[in-house]
């Protein structure tokens, strides 16, 4: 085989991968959609020029949660497995980042290594838990109960680590007071390290990650893997009777989703240089479900937009009291389930096509 034989094949594989940016599992296709996408990315890139440092830092805070939401969309929306475990992996990765960087420091780009290690730790725990869940054929509401229990056990455990004996190296776990003092993410640079404090630089890094993960997941869900995942959601018995070992696909989605929750956890921890067990409380565990359900769990774009809208609304409401904001979130979930079970953003996006179909039907009559 000569090199000229190999290169076209490689090129065609690359082309095939990019062609999966569009497909049956994702809303949005064609030049119109991608022009809109580029405009949104351009506007998001220009946004810090017209805003102040605090607001930009606050926007980064919103962005940090979207990875966990997109991961949940993959597990629940595409794979059909309702998991309350995302916040456990969020917390685990956050604490792992803290323990690693407090002990080793931020030199030589170690914070970036710590980010990857923390995501791997979250992924490894997800693989262990997921193995017992999916190979044990735990499905439906029981999957939700078990994952919620794991999250709450982890929260309870971290909550009782206030004493000085609960330290890993020089990193005190600190119980409900939370772990603090870890360094922000730091990019090594010849003319001096770039420290990503929650302002414009961190904004661009996280925005870049949001775009990368969003596009990467679009390719994943429109691939063969994504096909099998939605097949399992629709009819697991049929999917298995097409020769797929559905347990491996469910486990794969669970681990990828957990690693994305871990990415959120690390970014959140590095953003505020702080993490507490309350980030794994029952409220924290339920909120991602609300974001993803309200947006539209079976579509990545709807999930991403929905999460940002709901988070923005939630923060605006907390000005009037965080408990009231939670009641509104609960009400929003109930309304979504009753009025637009596929998600409000997804329903709005599909509205023009539905109206067109209805008017065509009217003409036919």
């Amino acid at each position: 085989m000569t090199l000229s034989d190999v290169q076209p094949r490689r090129r065609s594989r690359l082309a095939a991968a990019f062609s999966r940016l569009e497909g049956p599992q994702t809303m949005g296709r064609g030049p119109g959609f991608w022009a809109g996408f580029l405009i949104v990315v351009a506007l998001a890139s220009a946004y810090p020029l017209f805003s102040d440092g605090y607001t930009v830092g606050n926007t980064v805070y919103f962005f940090t949660w979207t990875f966990m939401a997109m991961g949940l969309s993959l597990i629940w929306g595409y794979g059909g497995a309702l998991s309350f475990g995302q916040t456990a992996f969020f917390g685990l990765a956050g604490y792992t980042y803290g323990v690693l960087t407090i002990n080793i420091g931020a030199e030589y780009g170690f914070t970036l290594v710590a980010l990857l290690l923390a995501m791997l730790v979250a992924g490894a725990l997800a693989a262990l838990i997921g193995y017992f869940l999916f190979f044990g054929r735990i499905t439906g509401v029981f999957l939700g109960i078990v994952t919620l229990s794991i999250t709450l056990v982890f929260e309870r455990f971290m909550a009782q680590t206030a004493g000085p004996q609960w330290a890993i190296g020089s990193a005190r776990l600190n119980g409900y007071n939370g772990m603090s003092g870890m360094p922000p993410l730091t990019i090594p640079w010849p003319s001096g390290d770039i420290v990503l404090y929650p302002d414009v630089t961190l904004y661009y890094v996280v925005l870049g990650l949001v775009v990368l993960v969003y596009l990467g997941l679009r390719m994943l869900v429109n691939s063969r893997f994504g096909n099998v995942l939605v097949a399992i959601r629709e009819n697991p018995e049929r999917a298995e009777m097409l020769g797929y070992d559905i347990r491996k696909y469910q486990l794969g989605a669970f681990v990828i989703g957990a690693m994305l929750a871990g990415l959120s956890g690390v970014l959140y921890t590095a953003w505020g240089q702080y993490i507490t067990p309350s980030s794994m409380s029952i409220t924290a565990a339920a909120l991602p479900i609300v974001w993803v359900a309200v947006g539209g769990r079976s579509d990545l774009t709807a999930t991403l937009v929905g999460t940002l809208v709901v988070l923005g609304g939630f923060q605006a409401l907390t000005i009037y009291g965080s408990q009231y904001a939670l009641i509104v979130m609960g009400a929003l979930l109930v309304v979504t389930v009753l009025v637009a079970p596929e998600g409000i953003i997804a329903a709005i996006a599909k509205l023009p096509a539905r109206l067109r179909a209805r008017s065509q039907k009217g003409e036919a009559v």
Partner: protein, 239 residues
């Protein structure tokens, strides 16, 4: 050599003996129908062959290998395929995507698209290719699932009441479909109530009653057997 052979197959659910010492064989290339009154153990035997239930005792051999304890997906990969009684399709996905998911094991790119088009034509579903599978008529759903089952290029196709809920015309068309598949070399085992359909397709018939093989032969043998007529009228069990 038989393509499928069960030896001394038993399945108990607590004290209930649903499958009793079943020694059953399926010859390569035949269309074999499994009939019997309600509760005869047809579905259980089916699920034992598929691996959805594991037998209490006995063995199942397929194509020369022991598959008694193999997982369902492992049996599918060996060349067994199934169409369920209630259409097991992916309702929220388009018809074309249903077939794509079934075919993507062994095909990709251009040849995948061609094979989907060929199957759609075989199944009389070309016009419905871009509809959601859940919006198809009942008969079309049954055909789509047959299409998904044969996408795997099986040696053995298991059909659980493939014509349930179909009109007589649809039933006849399904029979023709099964015969064309058989002509291409697919061995078929069908559980079926509709005797007109059994008469149309069956080369050999096995009657199950109280979990045991009660009679076996051609459809004419079975129809002529007074004992079989009696069990359908509820008189066949004398202990």
């Amino acid at each position: 050599m038989a393509l499928l052979q069960t030896s001394g197959l038993n399945k108990h659910f607590g004290g209930l003996h649903v499958t009793n010492d079943v020694n059953f064989d399926l010859q390569p290339g035949e269309i074999h129908c499994l009939i019997g009154p309600n509760g005869a153990g047809k579905s259980t035997l089916f699920r034992l062959i598929l691996g959805e239930h594991l037998p209490s005792s006995g063995t199942i051999h397929y194509d020369g290998t022991d598959i008694t304890t193999a997982k369902p997906f492992q049996r599918i990969r060996k060349g067994i395929s199934v169409k369920f009684q209630v259409p097991g399709i992916f309702k929220a996905l388009k018809v074309r995507q249903n077939l794509e998911i079934a075919l993507q094991h062994h095909l990709e790119g251009h040849s995948l698209g061609e094979e989907i088009d060929r199957l759609l034509e075989f199944l009389n579903l070309t016009d419905a290719a871009d509809q959601l599978a859940g919006n198809l008529s009942h008969g079309q759903k049954q055909w789509l699932e047959i299409g998904m089952a044969i996408s795997l290029k099986p040696k053995l196709l298991l059909l659980d009441e493939p014509t349930a809920g179909m009109t007589p015309d649809e039933t006849f068309a399904t029979g023709e479909m099964v015969q064309r598949l058989n002509a291409d070399g697919v061995t078929v085992l069908a559980v079926e109530h509709d005797m007109a359909f059994v008469r149309q397709i069956a080369q050999r018939v096995t009657v199950l009653h109280f979990g045991r093989i009660f009679a076996q032969g051609t459809i004419d043998d079975i129809v002529a057997d007074e004992r079989v007529a009696a069990i359908y009228l509820g008189e066949g069990h004398h202990d």
